[in-house]
């Protein structure tokens, strides 16, 4: 079994393809959609968690890439630029998944990328703008 969070980026021509259907039907994967930005005739992105057998998972990734989708590891999508962080902690009540939190008693901000669901709320809620995303280009 493998379980992994991914970002799928769709070129405009593929946005209307039933990609999820094939992942479930042809590769027997469980799909948990975390977030989707899909618009007709525009580049789309889908953040999801895939789980299933390792062999099916690898074949599905190959198939996705053959279709022209870009597959990225979700963990790398939001980054914490620690040197810009002033450790105020304003993010800690905005982050819905607990990825951003204040450690106590140190009162320092910590970022656990594995908990991040790429909601992107932190990007603008952080007054020091210490959170960055690679996804900006999609907008």
């Amino acid at each position: 079994m493998i379980k992994q969070k991914l970002v799928l980026r769709f070129p405009p021509a593929l946005v209307e393809q039933p990609v999820i259907y094939h992942l479930v039907k042809d590769y027997d994967l469980m799909v948990n959609i975390l977030r989707a930005d899909i618009n007709p005739k525009k580049e789309g992105r889908l953040m999801l968690e895939l789980s299933g057998s390792e062999a099916n998972f690898r074949q599905a990734l190959d198939w996705l890439q053959e279709q022209g989708l870009r597959v990225m590891n979700l963990k790398q999508q939001i980054t914490w630029v620690e040197e810009r962080c002033t450790h105020c902690g304003a993010c800690s009540v905005i982050c819905p998944s607990g990825a951003l939190a204040l450690t106590r008693p140190e009162m320092k901000v910590s970022f656990d990328a594995s908990k991040c669901v790429i909601c992107e709320l932190c990007l603008r809620a952080c007054p020091a703008r210490a959170m960055e995303t690679l996804l900006d280009e999609v907008k």
């Binding site: 902690g89 009540v93 204040l102 809620a125 007054p127």
Partner: protein
Amino acid sequence: MSVQRTFEEINEKIKSGRVVVMTAEEVLDLVEQKGITGAAAAVDVVTTGTFGPMCSSGVFLNFGHSKPRIKMNEVYLNGVPAYAGVAAVDAYLGATALPAADPANRNYPGEFTYGGGHVIEDLVAGKEIELEAFAYGTDCYPLKKIKTVFRLSEINEATLFNPRNAYQNYNVAVNLSDKTIYTYMGVLKPHLGNANYSSAGQLSPLFNDPLLKTIGIGTRIFLGGGIGYVAWHGTQHNPCVERAANGTPLYPAGTLAVIGDLKQMKPCWLRGLSFLGYGATLQVGLGIPIPILNEEIMEYCAVKDEDIFAPVVDYSHAYPNREGGNLGLVNYKQLRSGEISINGTRVPTAPLSSYSGAREIALTLKEWIISGKFLLARPAAPLPSIEAGISLKSLPQRGSE
């Protein structure tokens, strides 16, 4: 009182390397062990710190004269306007100033990615700053416009002058409405979704000298990573609010105007901030040494988060409409725990002021004093305190009489 010390005696101990300094956090354990008198006898100076957003901040600049000369009438630094209604090549850049082209809240909530606070951070970081200025031209100052670049080291003066810093206590902001609001207290989620506060509590300078018995005009302080001074009481200084038995105010109270040479400050302690839907500002690192002149002063410095209270205020309606009132008082221990209870509802809390930053400032100031490079300055004059009879004025809207 059995313990008595003067500023001069403390400075002699600093010079001879015998001074004992603790931060306002470290001293709490000592007071626990030795009591007030024991701690007062053992410690000469308690250092404090705070590192929060402080909008009433800015810098006076003198660029030096161009050839030919110009009497600058409009000044822009990296596109951010500075106030030029002073002498020819002087200007004041405020932390909240925004470029004319900033969409502000036209695209609500606005992002305010670059404002005066960010220019100040870039200046201190030694980055090249674009200066654009316009003038009407005079016989003695013929040039009408100039566009150039400079670095902080290349201009005559850069004097940080913050008319209101180091607020002694502040509101805890919540949102009772049914939509998210964007405030200077951060993003507030609807239906008491979060409670944001902004004070270093037990580490905060004015909570450790609540009645301003040692801090006055001329007090030497840590400012923006360098050395600065208390210049005056801050704007909206309101020392006469209700106080707890330990002297700490239950509401926003005293403030400080502070001044210092920007050229010796550090960008990590002067940080440009962008408050979503509100504006740009500056996060200022500020620390004040409290001389333990006697046991009374040590008792003030022994104040703990659980003994300092702040009012919970609704920023969706009561605050913007200046209706007054609050949803109760909570203490800073509760606030710092990450959750408070408001009318029986559990509400997650978040600080806007960096507690770990405040701790680092207090520790840095302690090191400076121990190493002998920072002497305490006896105030030239006291600041207005509880006996001053100050009451905060509001702004009525009326026609001329």
